[in-house]
């Protein structure tokens, strides 16, 4: 029982991070139809900038804020310099561009920072909390609470504000949105900036637990994508469910089946989902009209 609870907690903790990465994917995909493979690099930037700013003597909350700002600026640059000029390119060309961006950002991080692994101190100490025989790290609560806060904020913005309505309108029909006065380019830039912020927050929250280095982005992006796919691409609620589910699958798979193939689970899930439901579990089926 305690073992089960332990796996549940660690699964939910990493799952929350996957959920945030998946949210970033869906936000950008929703607004621009671009699958942004550089999404994992924002997580990396969040962790790395915080680590280095903190090491340079900046207080932790300020370092974290700085990391989010850096990530947002890079997200906006990515949109303005690489995505916007490639307007009208095919889905595959855009994927290759964002993969190029992710390699570039990784290369830049390797130059600006270094190739080592880095750790942040836990936000509220390392004293473990005991619950029904399971051990909870306080940082896990930070991750879960932070993720919940991000999800609620995003929900509020999307449902209750004009910006949210503009995003929804852009996602539904770009031309119609433009006709009713939505500045589509601004909405897309906001989506890139927003997803960068979400990614960076995920990176800051998880670094005390999993460490960070210049190349953690790729695997996170792939797992976030698996989560988004599991929930149905472009569906924010699906992204959160998909992320948590993937985290749990990984945790239980590693605990009860094999830990060496823990990272493979995300890809087996991707392939399995696509084989069974090519549009994702919650995604809509579309019919191509000729």
């Amino acid at each position: 029982m305690s073992e089960l609870l332990q796996f549940l907690i660690s699964g939910l903790t990493v799952g929350a991070v996957y959920a945030l990465v998946a949210l970033g994917f869906t936000l950008v995909y929703h607004a621009s139809d671009v699958v942004n493979f550089a999404q994992g690099e924002f997580v990396m930037l969040g962790g790395m900038v915080t680590v280095f700013a903190y090491a340079a003597g900046v207080p932790l909350p300020l370092a974290a804020l700085l990391a989010v700002i850096v990530a947002v600026v890079i997200g906006l640059l990515l949109y303005w310099l690489a995505i916007a000029p490639a307007r009208g390119a095919s889905a595959v060309s855009l994927i290759i561009i964002t993969i190029g961006a992710s390699i570039l950002l990784r290369g830049a991080a390797q130059i600006v920072f270094d190739k080592q692994f880095h750790k942040l101190p836990a936000f509220s100490g390392d004293a473990p909390i005991h619950l029904l025989g399971a051990v909870i790290q306080p940082q896990s609560l930070w991750v879960l609470g932070g993720a919940a806060l991000v999800v609620l904020t995003l929900y509020y913005v999307m449902e209750r504000t004009l910006i949210g309505k503009a995003v929804v309108a852009t996602a539904a029909n770009r031309l119609a949105a433009r006709l009713v006065g939505v500045n589509v380019a601004t909405v897309m830039a906001l989506a890139f900036g927003g997803s960068a912020a979400i990614g960076a927050i995920a990176g800051i929250l998880i670094t005390p637990i999993t460490l960070t280095s210049y190349d953690v982005g790729t695997l996170l992006a792939l797992k976030g994508f698996a989560a988004a796919m599991l929930g149905g691409m472009g569906n924010p609620l699906g992204a959160v469910i998909g992320g948590l589910l993937l985290g749990l699958l990984e945790s239980f798979g590693a605990g009860y089946v094999s830990s060496t193939y823990k990272d493979a689970i995300a890809f087996i899930v991707i392939l399995a989902v696509l084989f069974v439901a090519p549009q994702g579990l919650v995604g809509r089926r579309t019919v191509e009209r000729v």
Binding site: A91, I97, L104, F267, L271, L274, P278, Q279
Partner: protein, 314 residues
């Protein structure tokens, strides 16, 4: 002249002449090695181009097949006592079989979904290679025995230059000929519009699968050649970054242009060699090249140059 030989023969003869003349310009065996790397990469890229440029299907996990070919010539002789050439064949068969088995469900997908599924497949192959260290040496890789034919040990950059050049010529010849076969025409039809192709009676699923299997065999043979040439394999050759490099070669050179794939491979192999001074900047520059070329040369280098010369002639 052009009409006597036909476009295909002109390309093949030009390629053979370049291959024969290049060594005269090489001051050291290092250049033979770099050129062999270009031929090997071009072979894999041409295979991928048959899938991407001709049949219009993307694969972001193509290095997986490259890795299977590479590890076949390492594991076959070391653990199973296979002859090296037989191991190449086994690798190619394994790649073809894997492509055949997963191709059908995967190729039902389109756009992002196909990209991510092939990516997942490639990453899984790389993970198996990294994890099964008893067979593969794990992340450190393993040595590959030198190829020997009829008691004659094949080694040295010069020898491998000619072997890889020969392989690339055969690969180019096959790819060029494919264009004018019913299969090649079917590929083109489903590239333009799957639905139109289906209406015209093209068995879409079968031809997609064929293109996938052909591309996998090309990559596998290229992988085997590289592994034997290097005398060493490591999991990077099956990795995601290598898959991206292969796709970039195809797209940079020009989708659907066989010559383009050779040019794309040459650029992506030679550039990092020139940039070794900036070793730390390698990834940064690779990313930059990918982005800039995708934005400014959407058709790829060779089709773009062809268009420019056509315009200049007018």
């Amino acid at each position: 002249m052009l009409n006597v030989f036909g476009r295909r023969s002109v390309i093949l003869i030009a390629l053979a002449v370049v291959m024969a003349v290049l060594p005269l310009l090489f001051p050291s065996s290092y250049y033979f090695r770099v050129a062999s790397l270009v031929w090997v990469s071009a072979l894999a890229a041409i295979g991928l181009n048959i899938l991407m440029g001709k049949a219009g299907q993307v694969s972001l996990g193509h290095a997986g097949f490259f890795g299977i070919g590479a590890y076949a010539v390492a594991i076959g002789p070391a653990h199973l006592g296979l002859n090296a050439l037989l191991a190449v064949l086994v690798g190619a068969l394994l790649s073809a079989l894997l492509a055949f088995l997963v191709g059908r469900p995967i190729l039902r997908l389109k756009g992002h979904y196909l990209a991510i599924a092939t990516l997942g497949l490639g990453v899984l192959v790389a993970m198996v290679i990294t994890t099964e260290s008893g067979w593969t040496g794990g992340p450190d890789g393993m040595p590959v025995p030198k190829l020997s034919l009829f008691g004659w040990r094949i080694s040295g950059s010069n020898t491998w230059y000619w072997i890889t050049a020969g392989l690339l010529l055969i690969g180019t010849w096959f790819a060029l000929n494919l264009d004018d076969t019913p299969t090649g025409r079917a590929f083109r039809a489903l590239h333009d519009s799957e639905i139109a192709a289906r209406t015209a009676g093209v068995h879409v699923e079968r031809f997609k699968l064929q293109a996938f299997v052909i591309a996998a065999v090309y990559a596998s043979i290229a992988g085997s050649a590289l592994a034997m040439m290097n005398g060493f394999v490591n999991p990077d050759q099956a990795g995601f970054l290598h898959s991206v490099e292969l796709v970039t070669m195809v797209v940079l050179g020009g989708l659907g242009s066989i010559v383009g794939s050779i040019v794309g491979a040459a650029v992506l192999v030679v550039l990092p060699q020139l940039l070794t001074v900036f070793q730390d900047y390698e990834h940064f520059l690779l990313g930059l090249i990918i982005i800039v070329s995708m934005i400014f040369m959407r058709d790829g280098m060779v089709p773009m140059l062809a268009k420019l010369t056509m315009r200049a002639r007018r």
